[in-house]
Subunit: 245 residues, 2 copies
């Protein structure tokens, strides 16, 4: 009995240790396995999966071992089974209902994004304070007044809210959402919002992605600079070595 | 002389080894150091930086060591110096000129994003094939016909192009861009584009971010499942142990 309790504790600790880096790689596994499945591939080795994804075979095994014991030594992974398992881990086996708060350019762009629905994420409503927008349907999605936010979420079992309002209004929206049955917030406002701990938040910080691109562009120049530094250090070492008796 | 050549090789190898994970953390350092600078803080220890960023002190030292020898033992980091160094690494010390291809909802949303210009990323033009949009100014940015893309980029020393067209047209746009002086592409189309190796690409795969949110929401359920699995394994172990002589 005590062993079982210990088991529970270990499992909980274990899952908490799964780093965000692994989780962020899972959508890539999901996509790749989906393609294999559509091509009627039945089994795949960690090496093959790794090659397709640009990871090492041991990375693949390590990533997937985090979530249980998939695959068999010598056989590899059953594609369909692994695809379904990864989908389950990502919570893609059930439909998610979403609402968008903010029917401006960004909100409209997101409402028009076809890939969400094909993956089981259905946008059922948008909200705005602009009376010229409320009452309209944009890309097939009805726009309601922001006043109706809590009611629509709770009535329709919505589990994800997308914040697409200016950063000045984001916390205010988050406060309203905190009083609803919402489970997750996808935040596009460039600001950290505060919500109760049972509500999960995923921030889309576009500027960080732009900085990464800027870094990549800058990398060549940077390399030249580092090489110069390095050479200098070696010159100094050379001199010291020459002076040694 | 040979040692110096060895130095060059090492520096190049070294920089290539810097993982994307480190680079993706750098914007966070940049933001944090910028805030310290604005508050007239002169020096900061790796421990203090780590606390602000949610990393360990050793993680901070390891991250920054990748790019040279900043900081001094016992003293910590000079905030202004480190801020400037991180900005240089991220390529933020020079202004970047950007264009947006696609003046639909997404393109317009990006043109309206104020944080880009305040970080030195200036959007100078948008492009579209829709004749109702060309000739207009949207959020202050002129919209040109797509035909003029190469000319405008080369004439104005634009270094970053943002692809905000439907995925069906993304590769076609990338092909045109490949013939220009562009250095980097920020790709919002949910498709992998092919470009020559000297052009850097950063993809914004929104669906991956949504999957991560879905994972977080699903984590509690997942934990229950894992605990059950774990308990089962321990039950089996328990039984085996009981059967042992």
């Amino acid at each position: 009995m005590q062993i079982r309790i210990l088991g529970d504790i270990m499992a909980e600790e274990e899952i908490k240790k799964i780093s965000l880096a692994v989780i962020r790689r899972l959508p890539k596994y999901h996509k790749c396995l989906g393609e294999l499945l559509r091509n009627n591939v039945e089994k795949v080795s960690s090496q093959e999966l790794g090659q397709m994804l640009g990871f090492t075979a041991s990375q693949v095994r390590q990533d997937l071992n985090n979530f249980g014991e998939f695959g068999q030594q010598g056989y590899g992974y059953n594609v369909e089974q692994l695809y379904n398992e990864v989908a389950k881990i990502l919570g893609l086996h059930t439909e998610h209902k979403m609402v968008i708060i903010g029917a401006g350019n960004l909100g409209q762009a997101l409402a028009n994004y076809k890939d969400f629905e094909s993956h089981g994420f259905k946008i059922i409503a948008m909200f705005d304070i602009n009376p010229r927008l409320t009452g309209l349907r944009i890309h097939g999605v009805p726009v309601y007044d922001l006043e109706e936010l809590s009611y629509v979420i709770n009535e329709n079992n919505v589990d994800i809210a997308i914040i697409a309002v200016p950063k000045e209004n984001a916390q205010q929206v988050a406060d309203v959402l905190s009083g609803t049955i919402i489970k997750g917030i996808w935040n596009f406002a460039p600001i950290e919002i505060k919500v109760p701990p049972h509500i999960m938040v995923e921030n889309v910080h576009l500027i960080d992605s732009l900085f990464t691109l800027s870094y990549k562009i800058n990398e060549n120049k940077l390399m030249e600079r580092l090489i110069k530094q390095k050479s200098k250090r070696f010159e100094v070492k050379e001199k010291i070595i020459k002076k040694l008796p």
